[in-house]
């Protein structure tokens, strides 16, 4: 195996796939980075077994030759050393050569490095996906979908399935739902040109990584599902994540659909008020604030702390319909939900002090933030 490559695209690719590599892994080969060299280009792969990232460097792109003198082959190189070496090479051109005993020689200008490689066949086989089973989503939209839901996944291992986002595709609608059982976030978007239907649960950790690695300049992401992995693919990048096993609890029937009180408010104003009210409660991290709505056009939001005192603030809202209300909830959940909702005007629908309430943008049913209140004794 042998090829000559431009250093800059190589460094960029290495940086992408290195994000998936962890020095502490139970599978020894995964401390390495896999290189697959073919006539049409070089593919780099990194994985911690939970997520895997593949980056493709085409031999030629926009008329510029990036890889040449290609002799096909595959090798796994210790990621730590490879990354450091390539970063410090003196010249723009890098020549990599692997002999039959898996010795890797890296040359750039007068610098020559020799490394021991590992047999690429030892590396996990990542699923190859047919394009028929995939659909395409706008990159910015996908990032929104993640951002608006992933914060609500559970961080506790007691119900492992809740540490993931449920991704469901049905009737040309893609829905992401996440809950830690104290709040729930959900967002859906329409998807055209596909007849795919599926439900899977993707670890929240993977989704956070995906959000980081997705480049806004890419227009679309191709998504496909295999029996045990989900694949997100842009032009030169493939991101794979293992799925969570087990049944995601049915949440739709837990979401109240009748409301007794509806508050219409300005998102920004509400964020600031709740933030202020949580100030005093913040000492004992159990930052509960109370919302009272019984006067026309005003709600009162208050925070209380045993040690310090209390703060309350009246806020004029755009409208209140229905019964009067007195409800307590975690200010942190409220703030996260309000920030994720991404709309100037919102409506909050309540069905009682002990029942979850729902926040949505004023004229948009595609986003739902649900918060389960706090019961005060």
């Amino acid at each position: 195996m042998k090829f000559t490559i431009q250093r800059d695209p190589l460094i960029a690719s290495i940086q992408d796939v290195a994000k998936a590599i962890s020095p502490r892994t139970a599978i020894p080969i995964l401390t390495g980075m896999k290189l697959d060299v073919r006539q049409h280009g070089v593919t780099l792969t990194g994985s911690d077994s939970d997520i895997s990232i593949e980056s493709f460097i085409p031999a030629e792109e926009n008329g510029i030759v990036q890889v040449e003198n290609i002799e096909e082959g595959s090798i796994v190189i210790q990621s730590k050393y490879f990354t450091e070496i390539v970063r410090k090479l003196p010249e723009q051109t890098v020549e990599i050569d692997v002999d039959d005993s898996l010795k890797v020689t890296i040359r750039s200008g007068k610098a020559v490095f020799n490394l021991n490689g590992q047999d690429a066949s030892e590396y996990p086989q990542l699923p190859k996906v047919e394009t028929d089973d995939s659909f395409s989503v706008d990159t910015t939209l996908l990032k929104h979908l993640i951002k608006q839901t992933v914060f609500a996944v559970s961080t506790m291992e007691t119900r492992p399935i809740l540490t993931g986002i449920k991704c469901q595709m049905a009737n040309n609608v893609l829905n992401f739902t996440a809950t830690d059982s104290y709040r729930l976030a959900s967002r859906e978007i329409p998807v055209d040109h596909t007849s795919l239907e599926f439900t899977c649960v993707v670890p929240g950790k993977s989704m956070n990584e995906l959000h980081k690695i997705l480049d806004d300049s890419e227009e679309n992401v191709e998504i496909s599902i295999t029996k045990n992995q989900i694949l997100f693919r842009t032009k030169h990048l493939s991101f794979l994540s293992r799925l969570l096993e087990g049944n995601y609890p049915e949440t739709s029937r837990l979401i109240p659909d009748d409301s007794k009180t509806v508050i219409h408010a300005k998102t920004k104003q509400l964020i600031q008020t709740v933030d202020r009210a949580s100030l005093l409660a913040r000492t004992n991290d159990n930052s509960v604030v109370k919302l009272v709505a019984d006067q026309d056009g005003f709600i009162e939001i208050s925070g209380y702390s045993q040690d310090i005192g209390e703060v309350s603030e009246e806020v004029q809202v755009s409208g209140i319909d229905g019964e009067s209300l007195n409800i307590s909830f975690s200010s942190a959940y409220m703030l996260e939900a309000l920030k994720a909702i991404d709309a100037e005007d919102i409506k909050i629908e309540f069905t009682g002090a002990m029942r979850p309430f729902i926040i949505r943008p004023e004229n948009d049913q595609s986003v739902l933030q649900l918060i389960v209140p706090v019961r005060t004794f």
Partner: protein
């Protein structure tokens, strides 16, 4: 422990720290002395609000919960600090340690105030109060006001009358002159809502409350109406109860094994017993906690403590045992064990606990709450004890002293 003598007239102190947070900051940094000082949530942000301020700042009109920008307008030279709660808790611990040196009958009310029953301590309460005030000022560098009265209510009202560094005596016979002319809302226990209701039956001063018709009071305030009238007349039969502390942070139980052991069955049996002890004492305090700490002492006396903070408050022996065992087996190095301790930390009274409901179980909780509200409604009508959960019977004679120990332990842990 000193015995309460009920027939004798009692002498109660209410000690109230003056501008506690600000004073602690001054004690820490002499340069702040005499300056307008405020503690605020987010000093660098405009929207921060004042948590507390020094007298110098108050003189300029700075008030608690005022937005920072407004305070700065009133008092441009205002020095603003971020709250340092660890520092305040530390000072509070030292304060109560000092108070328990005077008498074991100390009832902390909050981080910066408490009651002392000094009936059996001295014949000259004023001299004792002066000495105590000086001692607090000299050893902790903190000013306080002390109110002296025959009961908690009057002591509390008295400490409010002169600040800072006041010592005020309030006797029942002083009431017509001192308290009765004052508006009713300065009375401890009368909030804005209550004052409003009182006004609706024509009661605006404490004197009017003292003379008001009990039946009319009950109509608007329920059982609380009579209680307030009694207070206005200087009657308050509540004892100073060291057990009534709000801020009890931990309740624990530990035991040395009869022999060092590695036998898991034996260990689990002891854990079960300890969990039951802790749970029983929590129940007696009508409290729950949400950090479980396990202490393991090995045969070589090496001791490790490990704790876990939970999302929800727990109180049942099973819940405590479950977490404690999990912790134990996670951290036990399989060497012979000499002593095991289980401590519930982050303990709060149930009334102060907010319980985060769960999406998957809220419907069940809702059922429970409905039942609870029936009980509450009935309690309001017939008095609070009607439905109180049956308290532990007298098999738990040790409870009183053991909780006191927990509380004092808090000071010893320095």
């Amino acid at each position: 422990m000193t015995k309460h003598t009920t027939h004798k007239a009692r002498v109660i102190f209410h000690i109230d720290m003056n501008c506690f947070y600000a004073s602690v900051e001054v004690a820490h940094n002499e340069a702040l002395k005499g300056r307008a000082l405020a503690i605020a949530g987010n000093p660098e942000e405009r929207k921060g609000i004042i948590v507390t301020s020094s007298y110098e700042a108050r003189a300029k009109g700075v008030k608690t919960t005022m937005p920072l920008w407004e305070a700065r307008k009133l008092c441009p030279e205002l020095i603003v600090l971020r709250p340092n709660f660890d520092r305040y808790r530390q000072a509070s611990k030292q304060l109560f340690k000092l108070l328990t040196n005077v008498t074991p009958l100390v009832e902390p009310v909050s981080i910066d105030e408490g009651y002392l029953d000094v009936t059996d301590v001295t014949a000259d309460p004023v001299a004792l109060a002066e000495a105590l005030q000086k001692k607090v000022l000299h050893t902790l560098n903190l000013p306080c006001s002390i109110g002296i009265g025959p009961n908690k209510f009057l002591a509390k009202m008295a400490s409010d009358m002169k600040k800072p560094l006041g010592i005020t005596i309030l006797r029942k016979r002083d009431l017509p002159v001192t308290l009765w002319p004052q508006p009713v809302n300065i009375m401890y226990g009368v909030g804005d809502k209550t004052a409003e209701k009182l006004q609706s039956i024509g009661v605006t001063t404490i004197g009017e409350l003292a003379k008001a018709d009990v039946y009319a009071l009950k109509q608007v305030l329920g059982i609380n109406g009579e209680r307030l009238k009694n207070r206005a007349n200087g009657i308050d039969s509540r004892m100073v109860d060291p057990d009534a502390v709000h801020d009890f942070k931990s309740i624990g139980s530990s035991q040395t094994l009869s022999h060092d052991t590695t036998d898991e069955k034996e260990i689990i049996a002891l854990m079960t017993q300890l969990s039951e002890n802790v749970s029983r004492r929590l129940k007696r305090k009508q409290a729950a906690g949400r950090t479980v700490q396990v202490m393991i002492r090995y045969s070589d006396r090496q001791t490790v403590t490990r704790s876990r903070k939970l999302q929800a408050y727990i109180e049942s022996p099973n819940d405590i045992k479950h977490i404690a065992c999990d912790l134990f087996f996670q951290h036990w190095n399989s060497e012979p064990v000499r002593l095991i301790g289980i401590t519930m930390q982050d303990v709060s009274e149930k009334t102060a606990i907010a319980y985060q409901l769960d999406l998957f179980t809220y419907k069940k909780e809702e059922q429970k709450a409905k039942l609870q509200s029936v009980v509450t409604d009935l309690s309001k009508k017939f008095g609070p004890d009607t439905f109180k959960q049956v308290k532990e019977s007298n098999q738990d004679n040790d409870i009183r002293t053991s909780f006191q120990k927990d509380f004092l332990d808090d000071f010893k842990h320095e």
